[in-house]
């Protein structure tokens, strides 16, 4: 067995955009930052909330005031002490609309940030927002050194409290981090340096892992997992994901106004086969609009595949001979495979699908910038949503609430149901977990009933890792963590 270095090298699947998660929407950026910049609250491997820079937290019943007790004895890499003022500086920054930060939207509800003492921070919201704790745990809500915020361009030079100190970033090539000897948790870190490489080509990523140039590969396409598994020195990590892939049905179009048609579509598609073809079997059939690992998930029972019934429903709806649909998708290989699969499956109920894979930028323009609900050309759109807060709110609201209609957020079905909207609002109005669970259960049930989309799959998140390495793993939301990296020799 090869001798493993005390350096950790990681290949990521995308190029890095910004070193400042406040201003990024990309998982890679969050992942890289997670060892340098810490959050008040974070997730464990199963998306359960765990303390990081906050030791305790609580929300008021009206879901308008949230209080965080901070960890003491922590200093930033630049020597600035970590305290309530530092947190306030960051929260204010996030809430400040004039900063034009990408993640400003998460903190739009914040009214004021108070610091009753050095280690307590209180968030006062403008309106009730039951998902605030999970929002604060969002991977983008990190705490920069206030000094760095003032003096440095944190997009390029992040200074945090994490176990690793940012050293250099050569865009397109690598990011290098160094061990923080003064980390507040004296047990960590256990590796000397961490280097991240953006490697967009998955085969190259895997090759790097196999030739021990990197010890961890984040985002391992299912097709390649076998290759890693077959290698003696490497292992495949697989966790259930929280990204739900759907084909939204444009409910403003006549053909999809009929619930029978939408149900028929769900029944016609064989989700098991979909997972086999698209993810080489590494996925889960959805049985709710949100994934099992998302907070407040409630199973609704999978649709299953029943061609007979699907045909019957179509006939009932007067579409025995089917109709033409245009399906928009993503033009990467997985996206193209999804489209082809869907096309073939729908042909079984006589639906003739024209599939349109779109280049990323074109898709974003057509779908998210200039789209007008009334005149949208598409009949169906493929898409996947992952709630990075791990909370049902940040899945149900953007994808199924009326306020989420594209281009605003991600409701590509133009689905609008009062019950659902109400339930989502109710859940936000309270800080009480039980009440929220109940509201979300109602919403999930209603959405499942209405079937505004064909639910296709929840892909497992896979990663490749050298044997002997621990503490580096991928998260269900698509990010990864490495703060507790350690080699066992």
């Amino acid at each position: 067995t090869p001798v493993l270095a005390e350096d950790l090298k990681i290949a990521m699947d995308q190029i890095f955009q910004k070193m400042d998660p406040h201003n990024s929407n990309y998982n890679v950026d969050y992942s890289v930052a997670s060892g340098v910049l810490e959050r008040l609250i974070t997730f464990d491997a199963n998306m359960k909330l765990v303390p990081q820079l906050a030791t305790e937290w609580e929300g008021s019943d009206d879901a308008k005031t949230f209080t965080f007790k901070l960890r003491e004895g922590v200093t930033f890499h630049d020597g600035t002490p970590f305290d309530a003022a530092a947190v306030k500086a960051n929260f204010d920054r996030l809430a400040d609309q004039s900063q034009n930060l990408a993640k400003n939207s998460l903190f739009k509800v914040v009214d004021t940030v108070e610091t009753p003492d050095d280690y307590t921070v209180v968030l006062n919201l403008k309106e009730p927002f039951g998902a605030m704790i999970n929002t604060v745990a969002h991977p983008s809500v990190v705490i920069h050194s206030p000094k760095a915020l003032e003096e440095l361009d944190v997009q390029k030079n992040p200074v945090g409290t994490g176990p690793f100190i940012f050293k250099e970033w050569i865009p397109g090539e690598r990011v290098v981090l160094e061990k923080n000897d003064d980390y507040w948790d004296s047990e960590w870190p256990k590796v000397d340096t961490v280097t991240f490489y953006p490697v967009t080509e998955s085969a190259t990523r895997v090759s790097m892992l196999l030739s021990d140039e990197v010890q961890f590969v984040h985002v391992l396409p299912a097709e390649l997992s076998e290759r890693v598994e077959n290698d003696d020195s490497a292992e495949v990590l697989e966790v259930p994901g929280i990204t739900v892939w759907t084909a939204s049905l444009n409910m403003l179009k006549d053909k999809f106004k009929d619930q029978r048609v939408r149900r028929a579509f769900n029944l016609a598609v064989d989700q098991e086969a979909f997972i086999d073809v698209v993810y080489s079997g590494h996925g889960v059939v959805p049985d709710s609009p949100i994934a099992p690992d998302t907070r407040f998930y409630e199973s609704q029972g999978a649709f299953g595949t029943d061609l007979e019934e699907a045909r019957a429903l179509m006939k009932e709806a007067g579409h025995e001979d089917g109709f033409d649909v245009e399906i928009w998708g993503i033009n990467n290989s997985t996206g193209v495979r999804m489209l082809q699969f869907l096309q073939q499956q729908l042909s079984q109920i006589n639906v003739r699908a024209k599939i349109v894979p779109m280049e990323g930028a074109t898709r974003s323009e057509k779908l998210f910038s200039s789209v007008d609900p009334e005149t949208a050309e598409f009949d169906m759109v493929m898409g996947g949503w992952s709630p990075s807060t791990g909370d049902a709110d940040w899945h149900l609201r953007p994808v199924y609430a009326t306020e989420g209609w594209v281009p605003k957020i991600y409701n590509m079905a133009f689905y609008s149901n009062e019950t659902v909207d109400q339930a989502i609002a109710d859940a936000l109005n309270t800080g009480d977990a039980d009440a929220r669970a109940e509201a979300y259960a109602t919403a999930q049930k209603q959405i499942w009933e209405d079937a505004p989309a064909v639910w296709l799959a929840i892909e497992n998140k896979m990663a490749g890792r050298k044997k002997g390495l621990s503490g580096v793993f991928q998260m269900p939301d698509g990010t990864m963590q490495y703060a507790k990296a350690e080699y066992q020799n």
């Binding site: 090759s207 030739s211 930028a361 323009e365 605003k408």
Partner: protein, 306 residues
């Protein structure tokens, strides 16, 4: 000739100017909204708007063009929309890896192509000639990624002789330049072969033989020099291409070059970077083609430029 050279140099300015207009219009006509792309698919519209304001993308097009040209003239090139880094710095960083890669690829492939081409021409119809054709056709019909991954699997993963990817040391050049050059070598070989066959029967080749020159010299000096024009044309074309960075090879080998930079920039509609890169490519092409044109005159003195 000097005159011609200077005139061609001067003519580049308006050409580049036209290119700048063309490029600008083309890029802005492409669908895709940089603000939206930067924000990401799962961003809300409000997030997108704030990014748009931050990047001045809400200004009228004509001003954006004026900015672009002003940047070009001052060689400042502006900042990347995506990272905010100065474009000139990004290009300067990506230029050399691509430059070395193209030089290596070009050198081996042209040399190899020439030798293989000449040998097949001399042995026209022999098994060697057929083998050459076989190789050349393989070279051209093998997609770059295929060859690249194959080489990587064998030399890096299996044998462990070379690094898989990235550009940290000179040996990292080997696999990517092999991959990149394969197609060029194939075309060069076929081209050289054809050109040498064309001249091999000329009277002056007979004269060269009559002098008692070694067959090597007859072929490599007398025949090849006459056959060189199409070959140099091809090499010039390929070099121009290579200097633009091969997206596929750079992607497979994680090469920090212009091709990768361009791909990212296009994907994110990073206008400033795309425009500047294309201007750079244009300039390179103009220069290479000028050089090739001047070379014609040296290779064949009967070609005159007025």
């Amino acid at each position: 000739m000097l005159n011609y050279f200077l005139r061609r140099l001067a003519a580049m300015v308006p050409v580049l100017f036209l290119i700048s207009i063309f490029v600008f219009l083309f890029i802005h006509a492409l669908p895709g909204d940089p603000a939206r792309l930067l924000a990401g698919e799962t961003a809300t519209q409000a997030e997108v708007e704030s990014i748009r304001r931050a990047l001045n993308l809400d200004q009228p097009l004509i001003w954006q063009y004026v900015d672009f040209v002003a940047n070009l003239v001052t060689l400042d090139l502006g900042n990347s929309l995506r990272t905010g880094e100065p474009v000139s710095q990004m290009i300067a960083r990506a230029f050399w890896p691509t430059f070395w890669l193209s030089i290596c690829a070009l050198v081996w492939s042209v040399l190899f192509g020439l030798v293989a081409g000449v040998i097949s021409a001399v042995r026209r119809g022999s098994p060697g000639d057929h083998a050459g054709m076989f190789l050349a056709v393989s070279g051209i019909s093998m997609p770059n990624f295929w060859l690249g991954l194959l080489l990587m699997q064998y030399f890096s993963v299996h044998l462990g002789w070379l690094g898989t990817s990235g550009f940290d040391e000179p040996s990292d050049l080997i696999l990517p330049s092999l991959t990149l050059g394969a197609g060029v070598a194939a075309v060069m070989a076929r081209f050289t072969r054809s050109a040498v066959i064309d001249v091999a029967r000329e009277d002056f080749i007979r004269t060269a033989r009559a002098k008692g020159l070694r067959e090597r010299i007859v072929i490599w000096k007398h025949a090849l020099r006459n056959a060189l024009i199409p070959v140099v044309t091809m090499a010039g074309l390929q070099f121009g291409f290579l200097l633009g960075g091969s997206i596929v090879v750079e992607k497979v080998f994680r090469w920090p070059g212009l091709g990768s930079l361009l791909l990212d920039a296009i994907n994110f509609r990073d206008y400033a970077v795309v425009q500047s890169e294309i201007m750079l490519f244009s300039l390179q092409f103009l220069l290479i083609n000028l050089a090739v044109d001047m070379l014609y005159g040296f290779i064949n003195p009967a070609i005159r430029y007025k």
